[in-house]
């Protein structure tokens, strides 16, 4: 999969921007992911990747963090080449933008 690898990304929380490294790996054909930020690594849940006709990949997942605060986040992003763009959302709060680049 072309999306495997590490992505250096920024997202918004109610406490300000957060720098996060997303890592996607292919484990025997199954896509798995982790998010690392503020010294904490959490698994991505319900990770779904759907290849798009133009060669990009649409991804959705959920993750729960405790740093800088306990927060459930839902993501919807598109990976195209070395760029990651999309949004994250904490519960019912408005969506905020996520941007990242392949490391």
């Amino acid at each position: 999969m072309t999306i495997t690898g590490t992505w250096d990304s920024r997202l918004k929380t109610p406490l300000g921007s957060l720098s996060v490294l997303f890592t996607f790996t292919d484990v025997e054909g199954e896509l798995r992911g982790t998010a690392t930020g503020r010294g904490e690594t959490v698994a991505l849940r319900d990770l779904v990747a759907i290849p798009q006709p133009a060669g990009s990949t649409h991804l959705t997942w959920s993750q729960s963090i405790t740093k800088p605060m306990r927060l459930d986040l839902d993501f919807e992003v598109t990976i195209a080449g070395d760029e990651l763009t999309g949004s994250s959302r904490a519960g019912r709060l408005p969506k905020t933008s996520v941007v990242g680049a392949r490391v």
Binding site: P14, L15, G16, S17, S64, T66, P68, M69, R70, L71, D72, L73, A90, G91, R92, L93
Partner: protein
């Protein structure tokens, strides 16, 4: 002897502190109870300023999570709007500072103590929830913070007082009056609470939400 410990920290919201303090102090007097109602803090008792005009209140004792009774956690006062990335010290940022402070391990011990009911008021609920301590609990915070509270793993019930047994939470600002009356009812029964309502010329608003953990007042 039971204690009602109301916690002070920097930028506390004055009404969150004073409303339950006055209601519960009057309820203790009405009931002829020797329960101590006091302002406390983590560490040496000292003066704190909070509110929109830096009102000062002085803690007279150290927060002690071994004393049976109640620990009441207020919210903070500060700007609702702003960009933390631009250095704006918004209410969530102020709450996060408290959530990162030495007061939280004491609150954790209070929550673990079966002889203590922890009551959170206004943004105080969100502050405790930021630390992950309210995971899976049912609670409420200020109406502007309920969506964030939900994202911390809390089941939110949008009312003025939520009774989840050893955790009682209340909504924004003036809900602290209803929190005080709710705790007074739990401790002393409805007659004492009603007598204080008459004295204060206030009638409780809203209907408290009781979860399965809650003790239904007799």
């Amino acid at each position: 002897m039971k204690h009602i410990q109301i916690v002070l920290f920097p930028a506390f919201d004055p009404l969150d502190v004073i409303a339950p303090f006055e209601v519960l102090a009057a309820a203790c007097d009405q009931a002829g109870s020797d329960i101590v109602v006091e302002l406390v803090c983590e560490g040496e008792p000292r003066r704190f300023v909070g509110g929109t005009r830096d009102l000062a209140l002085t803690a007279t004792a150290t927060l002690d999570p071994t004393k049976p009774g109640y620990v009441i956690v207020p919210g903070v006062s500060g700007p609702v709007e702003g960009d933390p990335d631009a250095g704006d010290v918004t209410i969530p940022v102020l709450l996060a500072r408290v959530a990162d402070s030495a007061v939280v391990p004491l609150l954790r011990r209070a929550l673990d103590n079966p002889d203590i009911v922890v009551a959170t008021q206004c943004g105080g609920t969100l502050m405790v929830a930021m630390t992950g301590l309210l995971e899976g609990r049912t609670a409420v915070t200020h109406t502007l913070g309920n969506d964030v509270l939900e994202a911390t793993g809390v089941t939110v019930v949008r009312t003025r007082v939520v009774d989840d047994g050893d955790l009682v939470s209340s909504g924004g600002v003036t809900s602290g009056l209803d929190l005080g009356f709710h705790l007074a009812t739990r401790e002393f029964g409805p007659n004492v609470a009603s007598a204080v309502e008459r004295l204060f010329e206030y009638e409780r608003r809203g209907t408290p939400w009781y979860t399965e953990r809650a003790l239904i007042p007799s």
